[in-house]
């Protein structure tokens, strides 16, 4: 088995104490994924595991063995990702520290919407697909904090990408 990181197989660490976050940054040099709180409260370390957003700080690297991991480097592999472009257009950051986690989360979140997953603010649980309103984006992105307070730009950027995809 191996951990597939952005399409490349990587051997799982021998020491099971190594978090996925530390494996990415310290062993693989993938420093796009950021260390924020390191206790599951901020979302800066968000990556995708088999396409779903998770916190790499609370994931042991050995738990990812046999699975595929996508980081911000993977999302941006084929040039600037549409979400990256939209974050620039809408001033979705100031310092940029939370941005990789925001974008990894947003990319997976848009797939959750397409799959019909409800959120806390979804009015009708029996409806198939939920319309992506501002309130929906804010609720669904609440696991990613931005201490610069760029949340309004972040929401604009995500709504912009969703609208372009729907067009």
């Amino acid at each position: 088995m191996a951990i597939e990181i952005n399409g490349r197989p990587v051997e799982a660490p021998r020491d099971p104490r190594v978090s996925l976050l530390d494996l990415l940054r310290e062993s693989e040099g993938l420093t796009g994924t950021k260390v924020g709180c390191n206790q599951g409260a901020c979302g800066a370390c968000t990556v995708q595991l088999d396409g779903e957003r998770v916190l790499s700080c609370l994931t042991l690297a050995v738990q990812a063995d046999g699975r595929s991991v996508t980081t911000i480097e993977g999302l941006g592999e084929n040039g600037v990702h549409p979400l990256q472009a939209a974050f620039i257009d809408h001033d979705g950051f100031q310092c940029g520290y939370c941005t990789p986690g925001q974008i990894c989360a947003a990319d997976a979140m848009l797939r959750e919407i397409e799959a019909g997953a409800p959120s806390y603010v979804t009015a009708d649980l029996s409806a198939g697909r939920t319309a992506l309103t501002r309130d929906e984006v804010r609720e669904r992105m609440s696991g990613n904090l931005c201490r610069c307070g760029a949340h309004n730009g972040i929401v604009d950027a995500i709504l912009d990408v969703a609208a372009r995809r729907a067009a």
Binding site: L55, L58, T122, L125
Partner: protein, 307 residues
């Protein structure tokens, strides 16, 4: 983090065998356990990864639903059977944590997350009877906004933070547990023990026992329900208080009612006194207020907390 061995359980029987080893703990999504290990609060010498066990969500012959212990919180909340038959459970799960954490966390892990408070997590600086029985409690006289008002003991006033389990308590969920003697079923309202003088022992599970599934029986109150959560910010925060409630009306009277509270007790708190006060009554604001009074007559808020 202290060193540990890691292994994956291939089956429930395998998990039972591995969990029986000394120093072993079961690992689900890790959202609580890995954090507590990093803080030095939990120090297992073996982790048994049980995320490969059943995550099936299916109808039972009795008309209920069974949920495999490894089903992830997000998968349960989004599942058509749960949304159609137990929307209260979807609502409660979606009220908890963040999307990332719900993607990681399993149902079994949600049940087994520690009843906890900030003083419990502060291994370096605070006394805690849950971490070290008999050592004292620095929460008393401290910041108690999130602490228990019901069912606490002199030794411990920490709360169980789950939203999911509050709905499970209102839905009379049954916890299927596998042990050396075979499988047994524990009603969720009997799954957590009172803290008394041993707040470190939180459930009725015996060492090595493994949660394999949850069973939701058919519920007459599941259709007419509400899940409400009050917290310090609009999302991604523990409950100051949450309420799962469902009623069945007949001829303008409350025929059946289930109420459970979260964030106010060491366990998901089934409000039996409030339910008793409401049964047979007309569903008026006065009746609900009297029911709340009946339940909270036994509340013992710490200084700084209002009831």
């Amino acid at each position: 983090m202290t060193p540990f061995d890691y292994s994956r359980a291939a089956s429930a029987a395998d998990a039972l065998r591995l969990a029986g080893q000394s120093g072993a703990m079961l690992l689900g999504g890790g959202t609580n356990l890995v954090d507590l290990m990093r803080k030095g609060v939990e120090r297992p010498t073996r982790l048994v990864d049980v995320t490969g066990l059943s995550r099936e969500i299916a109808e039972t012959p009795e008309g209920g639903v069974t949920i495999g212990a490894a089903a992830r919180n997000s998968a349960v909340a989004a599942h058509p059977l749960i949304r159609a038959h137990y929307p209260m459970l979807s609502r409660a799960i979606l009220a908890g944590a963040s999307a990332q954490i719900r993607n990681m966390a399993t149902v079994g892990g949600n049940l087994m997350q520690r009843t906890r408070c900030a003083y419990f997590a502060d291994a370096a600086g605070s006394r805690c009877n849950k971490r070290e029985p008999g050592s004292g409690c620095d929460a008393l006289g401290g910041f108690t906004r999130y602490h228990a008002i019901l069912g606490a003991s002199e030794a411990c006033v920490a709360t169980h933070p789950s939203d999911m389990c509050v709905a499970l308590a209102a839905l009379d969920a049954q916890v299927k547990v596998l042990g050396a003697e075979g499988e047994r079923t524990v009603p969720i309202v009997e799954f957590y023990r009172a803290p008394d003088d041993r707040p470190d022992i939180e459930t009725v599970l015996t060492p090595g026992e493994t949660i394999v599934a949850l069973e939701l029986p058919p519920s007459s109150v599941a259709a007419r329900f509400a899940y409400r959560k009050v917290r310090d910010r609009a999302s991604y925060a523990f409950a100051l208080v949450s309420v799962a409630a469902g009623v069945e009306l007949r001829n303008g009277r409350i025929e059946a009612v289930r109420i459970a509270l979260g964030g106010v007790a060491p366990r998901p708190w089934r409000a039996f006194k409030a339910e008793a006060a409401l049964r047979g009554e007309a569903p008026t604001a006065e009746a609900f207020a009297a029911a709340a009074e009946a339940e909270l007559a036994g509340a013992a808020p710490l200084p700084g907390k209002r009831v």
